[in-house]
Each structure stands twice: as structure tokens, then as C-alpha cells.
Amino acid sequence: MKKSRAPKLGIGLLVLGYAFALYWVFTRSTPVVSSRPITIRIAHWQIEKGPPDGIDAIIKRYEELNPRVKVEQVLVPESVYRQWVRSNLTGGTGSDLIEYGVWLDGLTDIPARYFEPITDEMMRPNPYNRGTKLEHVAWVNTFTDGLALQRLNAPDPGQFYAVTLTELSERLFCNRDLLRTITGSDRTPHTFAELRVLFRQVAAYAARTGRPVHAMAGARDNASWLMQFLLQGAMMESSQRNDRYGVLAVYAWDELGLYLDGRWSYRSPEARAGLTLMREVSLSMKPGFVQSTRDAATQEFLRGDAVFIFAGTWDGTSIRSQATFPIDVLRFPQPTKDDPVMGPYFYGRFADGGGGTAMEFYLNKQSPHPKEAIDFMHFMTSVEGNQLFTDHSGWLPSVREVRVPPSIAAYLTPLDCYTFGAEYMTLGSSVNSAVLRNFYLLAGSQGSVDQFVDAMEAEMPEAVRTDLRKEVSNRAIIVRPQDVAIMAKAALSRRAPQDASLLLARERLESSQTQSEALMLQMGRQLERAGPAK
């Protein structure tokens, strides 16, 4: 009896197992054949609170509109982003759309090697703006800044490479409760002179109560943003003197050459004024802050151990959503013409934002689906797409006609301030590394402006030459393949002479190539004129 039942039981179990497997496959598992034949990926490092939700909202709506396409958001921590980008692009596994910033150390060759220009598309309206006020506006002009910053950073001056998602600014976030506890008032400082008074009040309060409270939350990142800001402000007159092209801006590559020509240095009185202010602010941060990163500063502020934190609005959503106290957002109190340090070099209020839109996404040359990737770029920077981003991220929009929610209106920078573009820290990766390496010599009780300046001026001659040589070689990476593209466009144009777009594309490419080559040769001439570093 037992013997005859065993095979039946086995078969029964097998059938049951098979039925369960069928049920699982058809009801629970991921569809074996995707209903969306195309997948594109978008990678970025903005994993702080806000942007991932904003991009998710864009993706959700985009997938509703485009049933054939699936979009995956790839979140890469900032600490490994550079390695991630380099290794994936080298290995041919990079995402279709990739966030990139010129300040990313050691990646200056990436745009030239791996990103595709989108100039032709930029000249045409964004199809997703149909039915809006921007329906007939060229894509480039739908951005609040006309992609000014992106154009400045483009590896080729005649080409557009990226779209942006947001506008950034730098603000002082204030713990209103702590400010009231210390000063007895909610009044925030409006000038640097008032800020100095507040620094003294906070120090006195800390000494009196024994509470480890500081006026400014401190970390190397926040301090270096502030230093960049103060140096740019202090150097505005100097930047104008050095603007030989008359473009009311000094580009990083030109600043490097101007340094070699002896047109500016950290020893100049203007630079020293900016550094002196930075040192003053650094003394109101906790000792040893140079060793910590921005997360530590954010924690210090959120614990209620600092009255202010100077941060980019990129940290705004994280700070405001986690704080247990009311936060005021204010513009950094600036020195005035009667300031004892900065007064002699005062030109006007210097820019604390409004310099352009950011969070730049580039098209990977190796993307298997460039058409779909560009289509997604169109959607995320359309009025609808960018509104979704703004509403779900708490970050400012980059596109005109997008409504700014009242909660983040304080992030907007009115057109009441000046910038001449020149960044005296992030000129190139070697210069930037030298600044960060020597920063401890400026900050803290043991530091001084003289120590920092001496150390920098010892390193700058070699660092500047290294960065300028990199600028030349990066442009060569762009210029050389353009000869092939020019010949190809000419050959195609011969075959279809009626197609004016081919001729136009060739003319544009020839023109931008000539501009890039001229810059290469100018830089080469500056290096030659300067000779080797002594």
C-alpha cells in the first residue's frame, strides 16, 4: 500500500510545485518581458533630501507620457562619485545622462572625452513646452539664465553640452530660538559689521554659560564655500582690471594665464582683504573644523550648537526638514564701503547666487539610446517637468515660467549684485587642492593670513602651470575628433545639398573648433612666455 502511494505523492508534489511556480511567475515576479523596451539611466550625486524625490516625480510623469521608456535614477554618493564616473565611462557602462561639475577634482577631461554636445537641439524649441508661453522659444532661452554657467563651463566655447535642473545660491541659515536666547532679539545681522558684533555676543554667551555654542557651524566644505565667496567679493576690482577681453568676466583658463603674467596673486591687497575676512569668520567656528565635512557642520547646527550655518541652498531641504527649531534664511551680511578691511576694495554687493543654473546633466556619447535620453532631458527641463522637480525637491527651478513656492522664495537672488566670474580657488584641480591643503594655515587660533599666503605662493607657480597644461590638453581632446566630424558633415552635405541643416552644422563646428584652437594656442603662448616654474 505504502509502495503504491509514493509515486502518486511525488507526482502530486511536483504538480503542486509547478502550479506554485506558475502562480509566482505570473503574479509576483518582475515581468519576464518588460513592457518598456527602452531603459535609460540618469546618474547624479545629489542624494541629500530633495532632488531624488524631485527626479522621481519627473520620471513618474515621463513614464506615463512615454510607455515605451523606463527611466532609472542612479544615486551615487558624493564620496565615490569621481571614481564611479571615471570607471563607468572608461568601461562603457556609464549612465545615459550624467551629472558633472567642472570643480570635480581630477575629472577635467571627462566632458571632452565622454559627453556629446547638444547644440543643434538647444537652438530648437523644447517639444514638451507646447501649449506654454515657451512654446516657440529656443530650448536654451527657456532657462532662467540662458544656460550662462553651462556655457562658461562648456569644454568647447561654441557648443552646448548640458541642461540644468536648478538655480543655486548660498545663504545663512539661522537658528531663530538660539539667536533669541543669546541676543534677546530675533533681529538678524544685515552687514558684516553687525555680524562681527554678533560673533562677540555668542562668544561671551558661551564663556558665561559654559555651553559649547559657536556663531557659525564649521566644516572644511562650508568654510571653503565661504572663502570662495569672500575672495570673489574682495577681488572684484582686480578682476575688472584683468578683464582684457572686455567681457565683464574672467574665465578660469585666463586667470591661470594672468597669474603667470604676474597680474594677480594671493599677496595682492585685495586677496589679503578677502582672506582676512575669512579668518575672522573662521574664528567663530569650533576649533578643528578643518578636519570635518559638511555633514558634521549640519549636525552641529541641528543639535543647536551653532547660531548660523553658511550653506548652499542644496543643503536647504535637508537642514529645514530635520531641524526641530524655526529657521530663518538670510543673505550673508556683506561688508560695506566703510568696512575697515574690505572698504578700500569695495565695488558693490557681490553675488551670493543668481550666477547661473546648475545641477548639469550631460549626454553620454556612449548612450545606447541618445534620442530617448535627449527626450527625457527635454521633459525634465520643460515647464511641467521642472515644476515637478521644484515642488518635490524644495530646490529652485532652472526654467522660466515655473512657479517658485513661497517656502523657498528666500533662495532667489535678485539682480542686485555683481560677479566677474573669477574664482580664485577652483581655477583648476591642482590650485584647488593646494588651497584646501593649506587652508588650516589660515583658520583657527594658530593660523594667519601670512602663513597661508606664503604657503600658497610657494605652490602656485607649479600648480598653475599644471592646470594650464591640463586646459590645453583637454581642449586638444575636443579639437582633434572635430576634424573627422567636419569632414563627415561636408561629405554628407555634398550628397544632400538641399539639406541646409548639414551645412549649418558644419559651419558651426568649424567656427567653434577655431575658437577652441585659438584658446589652446593662447594658453600655450602664456606657458611659453612664463617658462618653467622657479
Binding site: 519576464v32 523596451p37 543643434d120 532662467t144 545606447p368 575628433p481 567653434s512 585659438a518
Partner: protein, 296 residues
């Protein structure tokens, strides 16, 4: 612009569903379907020939794919196909000096002909010496551009070559050495460049070199004004040019002209932080003009 790219990883890899339930059956269905459609498709849209397809791939920066396409060509290659193969070698990664030398020899041979391929080949030969070889030979590049312009003065490639020659004269060749002489040498090329867009680019380079070498602004401005008149620049250049015209006019003391260009800038470009400085410049111009009027 970016058409023609192929899915290198294969579609299934990209959406993660590597396993497909009926691959063979589908493949056969697809094959039969394609066979049925083939006669219709060939009438509706003729397939591009291999050379055209290769040029399209090169235009899309798919040089390796272009090379494969050119290798498929059977029989004796035409002059254009030989030229295309040499052009591919210029950007075939990894670029080697040997491959560039071979391309140079091919360009030199083709350049002896008397057709457009000869003109383009002569131009490419010069380009190799200017930017592609590990050690550029600016003198040789300049000589080749000059020879091309002598032989085919109205060819597009000769005209473009003259613009590239101007860069060498302005910055790279040892002689003439003085900045004013360099600029004069580039100026001398202007009457020979007849294509308007290339004339514009030449004017732009002479103007920019003038500011780089800090030459008198009245010698720089006419070139930049001409660039503006011709127009058609893209990217950062048009906005820079618009401001440059206002600012350099102001520095040269041409207040009316400066106002004209600054106002045009405010009208034509999306407001940004440079607009704030431009507005301040307009106030300064008004003050300077008022002071000029008050002067006896």
C-alpha cells in the same frame, strides 16, 4: 545629430530582463517578416551605400563603426573611400603615430589630384601637422595651408585653411614675433577669404588676438563689429561678443557706440548677473557724457 547609434549592450541587458521566453521562435518570425517586407522597404527608403553610411557614423563620432563599414567595401576603393579610410584613422582609438603617418601619406597622395577630395586631403594633411601629431610642426602646417590656397584659392578647404593659418601666425609661428606684426600678417589674409562665415571667424580671431596682446582698441573694434554684423555664432561667443563691443567701446572712449551695444545686450539676452554690471556701465556712460558736455 545623434542618430545611427547602436545599442552596444543589447536592449535586454539595459532593462535587466536578460531571460526571454521565446527567443528562437520570435527570431524566426522576425526573419520571415523582414523577408516579406524587404521588397517594399527597398522601394520606400533605399539603403545608404557603405561610404555614405560610414560618413554618417563619423558625423556621429562612431569612428570604430565607420571603420568596420568601410572595411566591408569590396573591389577597388574609389578616391573618396580611400580618403574616408584615412580620415577614420585620424580618430581611431587608440590613436597611434604610425597610423597618423600612414594617413598623412594617403592625404599627400590624394592631394595631388584635381578634385574636391584633393582639396580636402591637402587640408587634412596640414591639420595633422597642426594638431594631431604628438609633436606639432607649425611651420610645415603653415606651408601646406599656403600651398593649398595657392592651388585652389576658392576651395572651401583652402579658405578654412587660411583661417587656421591665421591662428599659427597670431600665436605659434616664430616669425613674425612682435604682436603688431603677427596681427598684420593675419590681417593680410582677410582679402583672400571670401566665404562670409569664415571671414567672420577670421575677424573674430584677429580681434581676440588684439585684446590678448593688448593692442590699441581702435584697431581691435572694427574686427569685432564686423563679426557682429555677420552674426551666426553660437554657444558662449555671441553673448561675450555683445558685452565685449560695449565694454571695449567704453574703454576706447566711444560712449555713444558703447551705449548702443550695451543696450542691445540688455535687449537681446536673458537677464543675468552681467546685466547688473552692464546697467552700471550705462550709468557711468551717462555720467561721462554729461561731464564731457559740461567741459568748456
Amino acid at each position: 545629430m545623434i542618430t545611427g547609434s547602436s545599442c552596444r549592450g543589447g536592449r535586454h541587458f539595459h532593462h535587466g530582463g536578460v531571460f526571454a521566453p521565446y527567443p528562437k521562435r520570435r527570431r524566426w518570425c522576425g526573419a520571415w517578416f523582414c523577408l516579406i517586407l524587404l521588397p517594399i522597404a527597398s522601394v520606400a527608403a533605399p539603403a545608404p551605400d557603405d561610404t555614405t553610411a560610414a560618413w554618417q557614423l563619423m558625423a556621429d563620432h562612431l569612428v570604430r563603426d565607420a571603420s568596420i563599414r568601410l572595411d566591408q567595401i569590396k573591389g577597388t576603393p574609389t578616391r573618396e573611400q580611400v580618403f574616408a579610410q584615412a580620415v577614420v584613422a585620424v580618430d581611431y582609438q587608440p590613436v597611434t603615430q604610425d597610423r597618423l603617418q600612414q594617413a598623412e601619406a594617403t592625404f599627400a597622395t590624394l592631394a595631388r589630384g584635381d578634385d574636391e577630395i584633393a582639396e580636402a586631403a591637402a587640408y587634412m594633411q596640414a591639420r595633422l601637422y597642426q594638431v594631431h601629431f604628438q609633436r606639432p610642426d607649425y611651420g610645415r602646417a603653415a606651408a601646406l595651408y599656403r600651398a593649398l590656397a595657392e592651388r585652389h584659392p576658392e576651395s572651401h578647404w583652402a579658405q578654412l585653411g587660411l583661417v587656421k593659418l591665421s591662428l599659427l601666425l597670431l600665436y605659434a609661428l616664430p616669425e613674425p614675433a612682435a604682436p603688431a606684426e603677427r596681427i598684420a600678417a593675419a590681417n593680410a589674409l582677410l582679402p583672400r577669404v571670401h566665404e562670409e562665415k569664415l571671414r567672420r571667424d577670421l575677424h573674430l580671431q584677429i580681434g581676440r588676438a588684439g585684446t590678448f596682446y593688448e593692442q590699441p582698441l581702435d584697431s581691435v573694434l572694427p574686427h569685432l563689429i564686423e563679426v557682429n554684423r555677420i552674426g551666426g555664432l553660437v554657444g558662449q561667443a555671441p553673448e561675450d561678443l555683445a558685452i565685449e563691443l560695449g565694454e571695449l567701446s567704453l574703454r576706447a572712449g566711444h560712449y555713444e557706440q558703447a551705449r548702443h551695444y550695451f543696450e542691445a545686450y540688455l535687449r537681446d539676452f536673458v537677464p543675468n548677473l552681467r546685466s547688473v554690471t552692464v546697467r552700471r556701465r550705462l550709468e557711468e556712460i551717462a555720467a561721462l557724457e554729461a561731464a564731457k558736455k559740461d567741459r568748456p
